[in-house]
């Protein structure tokens, strides 16, 4: 088993494109992180800040998967990668959606009568 199992690419040849991909990913991630902090420190309304930070986070996930973890939908592993993404997304949807469902229900029962104070909690309110 001395054969490498990484798709038998010539390391010298692929090194250039590898470094390019990592560098792009790094720059994009850095920009998105700085962007999130900039959004936080800006004078935008709170809802906008949260939305911007969430979008930056999601984009950063995509950048990491694409540039660092070599996820792609074309080529030898496209089918496996697609299944992986679909499975992950469905599980994350169950977790995030379930949390939303449970916590908003609880929040509704806890804070229904209270004022807008409840809206500043980290729990989504109805």
């Amino acid at each position: 088993m001395t054969k490498p199992n990484t798709g038998a690419l010539d390391p010298q040849q692929s090194a250039n494109s590898e470094i390019k991909s990592y560098a792009t990913g790094f720059v994009v991630s850095l920009a998105l992180t700085v962007g999130a902090f900039a959004a936080l420190l800006s004078d935008l309304p709170a809802t906008w800040k949260v939305a911007l930070i969430c979008v930056a986070a999601l984009l950063q996930i995509v950048a990491h998967l694409r540039n660092f973890l070599h996820l792609s939908f074309s080529g030898r592993q496209s089918r496996e990668d697609l299944l992986l993404v679909l499975f992950s997304v469905s599980l994350l949807a169950i977790m995030a959606g379930g949390t939303w469902y449970i916590m908003s229900d609880l929040s509704g029962r806890m804070h229904q009568a209270s004022d807008s104070n409840a809206a500043t909690h980290d729990v989504p309110t109805r």
Partner: protein, 701 residues
């Protein structure tokens, strides 16, 4: 904890050991506490002396601690788990003994062997240890040992990462162990629900011990999950299609997926609680916008898949042994695969049933109640499949089959009490009572513990070259079955009588008969532990008579039985070509299965490295330093971990090459030995005539 935080020793001073408690106040509780610490200290000293006396330090370091071999890592995981199991069982016994003496009276409302705070520490450590440092290392160890062999792979996909995972788990276990001697453990139960475990209500070091043990070992488990998944996807032998994989590999795949997606939830909830405690965050506090209900939500998002992470490898073991020891092909392979995968996915949709009574509306409860009942269906399918596998087979009542029978009888009861609890309206009546305690012990002991012990018994010859004593193995199994029945069946009754779980005291004399029965069960569990230890010892002493150099003592049908016992470092002299589902069985059917490979090649193995060991030491130092607020050490070890990873990344590391000649020589010797040994029939399987070469004409799997 008096005075300020010292810059060098943090919050540590001489008042943190149980001995100072004993000096301050001599009673049964402090005696038990100091006794436990003494066992730890004396055990440690005895181990040090034994290893020095036998000159084992060198071999231990060279052959084990620095080895990236998945088989050795698996064995080390299991050794760690068995040590922790001993502590867990003893703690369980102390709790049973306490409750049997804890009837309060008007004159003396609190009684019993240990103080209430000590009792709370006992149930917290017992739960934490049994879940995270017994069940998890047992199953991860077993998968590490078996999975590559069954897949026809040389090793795990990432051998050094595997070492790091083991190191992180051991570091977590070390933190739990040291809490016996230095300071107190948390009193919030194994789930450590805030706000009670927040800084305001639990200011000491106890919760921090739990947090860092969980954060560190949880990271290890996540990495292990990734390692397993990549191994199964990328390292299968040629021809080993997914639908040709043995069932144990399938359940390992399910476990890997669940580890990857569930463990981060635990890391997140623990990290949030840590931020609350260390950095004055307000995720789970009562005021300032905190919401402690979200802790339960995130924790159980991990916690429920965890239950199936624990049970699925046991299901895999039972699939293997029901087929092997009945001399029959596994019934309903496809349905078992589908059932395992269904369980893996549905287990992510049921977490709310752990907090039905938290106050959400009925609709939410019903949705999760229904999901919970649905997950019982695939499990039922599996039970029927195993019974059908054994139906009309020539079943040999070996130790694993005793465990399997105990599992059939008891696990079904546990599963049914789970279905009862899945109904929110019933759950409201019995939640937080010992009925629940009985339920989850009823699935975890007959499920996980019996499954893992059966697996250890089944694969032990592969690891060490000799079988375990069947007589003592069966005695241990009977004791575990009896111990379980006597300890936990009374808890169902007590729960229905209204006894809350985790009570240090109670006032109802009607509880006492059941408490005594449960305490007797605790004694049986202790006996089972002693018997388990004796099984290993007596088998080791009789290792010559029990040796099975042929490597196939049970007439198995999967690939791991094609190699010698103990299995060589390189496992397969030549990676096998797989043509059928039960490859080894098909080769037996076709005639002589022990044919030498056509040619031998050099084998490349990962070189030994101390990487995992060093990271484990740094992780332990980090956890300990954070618990005691020794900031300089915390910063140092936190920087050391990425530093070591980066350093290793920059070095060129040459693998070890095992020359073809050496492999050929060992393999030829093995083939000659096979030819010289007399095949053993099933009837003689337990006798000394079993040298690991079965009578292949009897093979019917």
């Amino acid at each position: 904890m008096s005075g300020g935080t010292s810059p060098i020793f943090g919050n540590l001073d001489w008042n943190v050991t149980p001995y100072t408690d004993l000096l301050r106040d001599v009673n049964s509780s402090t005696i038990v506490g100091a006794g436990a610490a003494s066992v730890l200290v004396l055990g440690g000293i005895a181990t040090l002396l034994l290893f020095s006396w036998m000159r084992w330090w060198g071999p231990l370091y060279r052959n084990w601690l620095t080895s990236p071999d998945a088989k050795k890592i698996g064995i080390m995981y299991i050794a760690l788990a068995l040590v922790m199991l001993a502590r867990g069982i003893i703690e369980g016994f102390v709790m049973r003994a306490h409750q049997a003496t804890a009837l309060g009276t008007l004159a003396q409302p609190e009684g019993g062997l240990v103080a209430p705070d000590h009792f709370a520490q006992l149930f917290s450590t017992h739960g934490t240890i049994m879940i995270f440092f017994v069940a998890m290392p047992l199953l991860i160890g077993l998968i590490n040992f078996v999975l590559p062999q069954q897949l026809g792979a040389r090793d795990m996909a990432f051998p050094v990462l595997n070492q790091v995972s083991l190191g992180l788990t051991a570091a977590g276990a070390g933190l739990i162990m040291i809490s016996l001697l230095v300071g107190q453990f948390g009193t919030g139960g194994w789930t450590m629900y805030p706000p009670y475990t927040g800084k305001i209500f639990s200011p000491g070091e106890g919760v921090d011990y739990w947090l860092w043990a969980i954060l560190i070992s949880g990271m290890g488990s996540t990495l292990t999950g990734m390692n397993f998944a990549v191994t199964i996807f990328k390292e299968r032998a040629p021809g080993m299609h997914f639908m040709r994989m043995p069932l144990f590999c399938w359940t390992s795949l399910c476990v890997a997926i669940m580890l990857i997606y569930a463990m981060p939830a635990l890391t997140v909830s623990s990290a949030m609680l840590a931020l609350d405690r260390y950095a004055d965050f307000h995720f789970f506090t009562n005021d300032a916008g905190g919401n402690m209900m979200n802790y339960a939500n995130i924790f159980w998002m991990f916690g429920h898949p965890e239950v199936y992470i624990l049970i699925l490898p046991a299901f895999g073991v039972f699939s293997e042994i029901s087929s092997t020891f009945s001399g029959k092909r596994l019934y309903g392979y496809t349905s078992l695969v589908i059932a395992s995968m269904s369980i893996a996915v549905i287990s992510f949709t049921v977490w709310l049933h752990h907090f039905f009574t938290m106050g959400q509306s009925a609709g939410v409860n019903i949705a999760f109640g229904i999901a919970t009942m649905i997950i019982g269906i695939p499990t039922g399918v599996k039970i029927y499949d195993w019974m059908a596998t054994m139906w009309r087979g020539r079943v040999r009542i070996t130790t694993p089959i005793v465990y399997l029978t105990g599992f059939f009888l008891l696990f079904v009861i546990g599963g049914l009490s789970g279905i009862i609890l899945a109904n929110p309206s019933i759950d409201y009546q019995v939640h937080n009572s010992t009925f629940l305690v009985a339920h989850f012990h009823n699935v975890i002991i007959p499920g996980v513990l019996y499954g893992m012990l059966a697996g250890i018994h089944y694969w032990f010859p592969k690891a060490f070259g000799f079988r375990l004593s069947e007589t003592w193995g069966r005695r241990t199994a009977y004791l575990f079955v009896g111990g379980f029945v006597f300890t936990f069946m009374p808890l169902y009754v007590l729960g229905l009588m209204g006894m809350p779980r985790r009570s240090p005291t109670f006032q109802n004399p009607d509880f006492m008969p059941w408490m005594y029965i449960a305490a007797f069960g605790g004694v049986l569990m202790l006996c089972a532990l002693a018997s388990l230890t004796w099984t290993f010892w007596t088998s080791y002493r009789n290792r010559a008579a029990l040796a099975v150099p042929g490597g196939d003592p049970w007439n198995g049908s999967t690939l791991e039985w094609s190699t010698p016992a103990p299995v060589p470092e390189w496992t397969f002299p030549c990676i096998p070509q797989v043509t059928a589902r039960n490859e080894w069985g098909e080769r037996k059917r076709a005639g002589d299965p022990w044919q030498a490979p056509a040619e031998y090649t050099d084998i490349e193995m990962p070189a030994n490295t101390a990487h995992g060991l060093l990271i484990a030491i740094a992780a332990f130092a980090l956890g300990f330093a954070m618990v005691w607020h020794i900031w300089w050490l915390a910063i140092l070890s936190l920087l050391a971990i990425p530093g070591m990873v980066a350093l290793r990344g920059m070095r060129v590391i040459e693998p070890t090459i095992i020359p073809a000649a050496e492999v050929e020589q060992a393999d030829r010797r093995f083939r000659q030995q096979i030819a010289s040994l007399t095949p053993v029939t099933r009837a003689d399987e337990e006798t000394e005539r079993n040298r690991g070469v079965p009578d292949i004409s009897e093979f019917a799997g």
